[in-house]
């Protein structure tokens, strides 16, 4: 009886995930093996008659019809060097953005957690969410543009005579991605650091560790959960980024998201767009899986090191 109650509780989320995640992914999966139609969509000639032929025992006929629809065209064009380069650029931008986001978010969260005005500071972290992402990206255009804020100041100070081209580069995409990711990294880091016992830092210093050693050996290992969450919350949106490279990036900073959009809308190649989406999902999933399992494996290994050392001590 009690077990059934559990199912009822999870039913809404199960339905939600089935309809809005599992089924769409399956559709994308199927589409990626189909032939494209000229103006979008895919070639799809199946009917109930085919199913009834399967039911009446014409199995080979059914499968030959299915096989005649299947194609690996989309996956072949994924091997095109131009696309592989986009994958490389995407990974580079996502990893760099994650790195710099953490570099800024960890000290910021530390400061907020130790500040007597943490509520005000947290509010300031959340304030950007009150405005639409696109508007915030356009704001960066007015800051970084050739006629923008930064160039105007530098020109009026006489540092430069001609404006510097900040926009439409990988660096600009990384910069704006870092900016949009910061709140997502700061919030989980803050909630972990806030629970951290800061006397551990003093204990570490007391026992002979320098400030840097204390950070690496005591602080970071104890806020791991927050760091891992911050990495995932930054890396996953960054690798699937579309709007930022579209508006801020140039031709060299095209990311997978942009290529998918182009294939879907401009080239009307749905199977190719589907296969790219699938590849993106696979890259993200494998990346997260490796990251999380390697991390937990490291913990296990540390523990078994200790066990081995202890055993030899006892012997």
């Amino acid at each position: 009886m009690r077990k059934r109650v559990g199912y009822i509780y999870t039913l809404p989320i199960t339905l939600w995930i089935t309809f809005f995640f599992v089924i769409p992914i399956l559709i994308v999966f199927v589409f990626s093996f189909m032939k494209k139609k000229l103006n979008g969509g895919i070639v799809w000639n199946f009917s109930f008659a085919d199913l009834s032929s399967l039911a009446s025992g014409h199995i080979t006929a059914f499968f030959s019809k299915v096989a005649s629809h299947l194609t690996f065209d989309a996956y072949q064009s994924l091997l095109h060097p131009a696309f592989l380069k986009v994958v490389g650029v995407t990974l580079y931008i996502a990893l760099a953005a994650t790195f710099f986001t953490l570099l800024l978010a960890i000290p910021a969260s530390y400061y907020i957690a130790r500040s007597p005005r943490k509520n005000l500071l947290l509010l300031l972290v959340i304030v950007p969410f009150w405005t639409n992402l696109l508007i915030r990206i356009f704001a960066w255009i007015t800051i970084l543009g050739n006629n923008g804020f930064v160039n105007n100041i530098l020109t009026s100070l006489g540092v430069i005579t001609d404006p510097i081209q900040f926009l439409y580069s990988k660096s600009a995409v990384i910069l704006v991605t870092v900016y949009t990711s910061l709140p997502y990294a700061i919030l989980p880091l803050y909630s972990t650091i806030e629970k951290f016992d800061f006397t551990l830092l003093e204990a570490s210093r007391d026992l002979g560790a320098s400030n840097a050693q204390t950070m690496w050996k005591v602080f970071l290992p104890n806020i791991r959960v927050g760091v891992i969450t911050a990495i995932l919350f930054t890396f996953i949106p960054a690798i699937g980024s579309y709007a930022i490279p579209q508006l801020i990036g140039g031709t060299d900073s095209y990311m997978i998201g942009n290529v998918i959009a182009r294939e879907l809308t401009l080239n009307r190649n749905w199977p190719l767009a589907s296969s790219m989406s699938l590849i993106l999902t696979v890259i993200t999933t494998i990346g997260i899986y490796l990251f999380v399992t390697l991390n937990s494996a490291r913990i296990v290994r540390q523990e078994s090191d200790v066990t081995a050392a202890g055993r030899s001590t006892n012997g």
Partner: protein
């Protein structure tokens, strides 16, 4: 292992507008178990943090032997701390916690194993070396903290209220254990506590602190038996205070007229003049309570005898505390039960009794205008 002398020379420190330490000086000798005792907020923890290097005093000097350590960061001071909350690293096992300072020093893994197991066996935790701190009891965590602080072979060990998180029974046990460890390794211990029993029972010397000032430094019996002022007398143990004007002085005793008591004699350990307003103190266990009027051989002037009624009796097993009302004043008397119900006639609530003590057990802790 050898300890060091630690000299604190005129340390002052303020936070915001609050003076936490004013002109504090201490001379702690090599190998001593030295306690700094005071109520919470008296500045004792700040003083310890100045010695450990977590706070920088506004002025003054701290010497480890001949070396002024104030300019050194905490990791270069040869001083280790046992924190009130233990501050064990939750992500490391017991073994790795104790190994932490040795790994920082980059000792070989064989040296680390040998040293860590030596100290883990000293605190009897070899069996638990691969547990995480969260799997340990309070007493075990305390022992890990001790092993971790000692493995570095500090010259001075600082203990910041190390027993305050333990229950009463375990506290007694750990106190003895700490004392034994101190006797074994012989380094200097500086023990911070607000618990006078802890301080009295293990210290070689005690400094009593209040409001950022050291009030008295001395051996436990000096602090208890001849507190230099009313605060120390009141803070260490329990005591009775009486106030009055000095009426006469004879040989080694002075006499004070206390309202409702008549004339009370005291021991002259400091110079007072006839007419001075003074505060006397007498420890409750120095006073006796009987139903019969006491009879004295020799000079009855050496004894103070008062008559009153029992207001309250608190039985604590090994002793009873009597609160005897004399006039508008209440006097505390502790009586040790040395024989089961046979020591003498039992005293009951509301009964009339005599309380009496030797004049030499009372002494002046405060003279008005001084």
């Amino acid at each position: 292992m050898k300890g060091s002398n630690l000299t604190v020379n005129r340390i002052s420190k303020h936070f915001g507008g609050v003076q936490v330490l004013s002109d504090v000086s201490l001379e702690i000798k090599q190998g001593e178990l030295f306690s700094i005792l005071g109520p919470s907020g008296c500045g004792k923890t700040t003083l310890l943090r100045c010695i450990a290097g977590f706070e920088t005093p506004d002025s003054g000097e701290i010497f480890l032997d001949k070396d002024n350590i104030l300019s050194y960061p905490p990791n270069k001071r040869h001083v280790n701390t046992i924190f009130q909350s233990y501050a064990l690293f939750p992500h490391l096992s017991v073994f790795e916690n104790v190994a932490f300072p040795l790994r920082i020093k980059k000792l070989s893994s064989k040296e680390i194993r040998d040293e860590v197991s030596k100290y883990l066996s000293m605190v009897r935790l070899e069996e638990h070396h691969n547990k995480k701190p969260s799997q340990l009891s309070g007493g075990m965590k305390q022992r890990v903290a001790i092993a971790r602080a000692l493995v570095n072979q500090p010259k001075v060990l600082l203990l910041d209220e190390p027993l305050s998180a333990l229950d009463a029974k375990l506290r007694q046990h750990m106190l003895i254990e700490l004392d034994t460890i101190h006797d074994d390794i012989g380094i200097t211990f500086i023990y911070i506590t607000h618990d006078q029993q802890e301080a009295l029972s293990v210290s070689d010397r005690i400094a009593v602190m209040d409001k950022g000032v050291i009030l008295q430094t001395g051996t436990p019996s000096q602090i208890y038996e001849s507190p230099s002022n009313a605060f120390v007398a009141d803070f260490i143990g329990e005591t009775n205070f009486m106030e009055g004007k000095v009426t006469r002085i004879a040989d080694q005793n002075g006499y004070v007229s206390v309202e409702g008591f008549g004339e009370v004699g005291f021991y002259l350990d400091q110079k007072v003049n006839v007419g001075d307003s003074v505060k006397l103190t007498v420890r409750p266990e120095k006073i006796r309570v009987t139903k019969e009027e006491p009879r004295f051989e020799g000079n009855p002037g050496d004894w103070n005898v008062l008559h009153g009624s029992v207001d309250e009796i608190i039985y604590t097993g090994f002793q009873s505390k009597y609160f005897v009302k004399i006039g508008s004043f209440q006097i505390r008397v502790f009586k040790q039960h040395v024989m089961y119900q046979l020591d003498e006639t039992p005293i009951n609530w509301k009964e009339n009794v005599y309380v009496w003590w030797n004049s030499n057990d009372g002494f002046v802790v405060e003279v008005e205008g001084r």
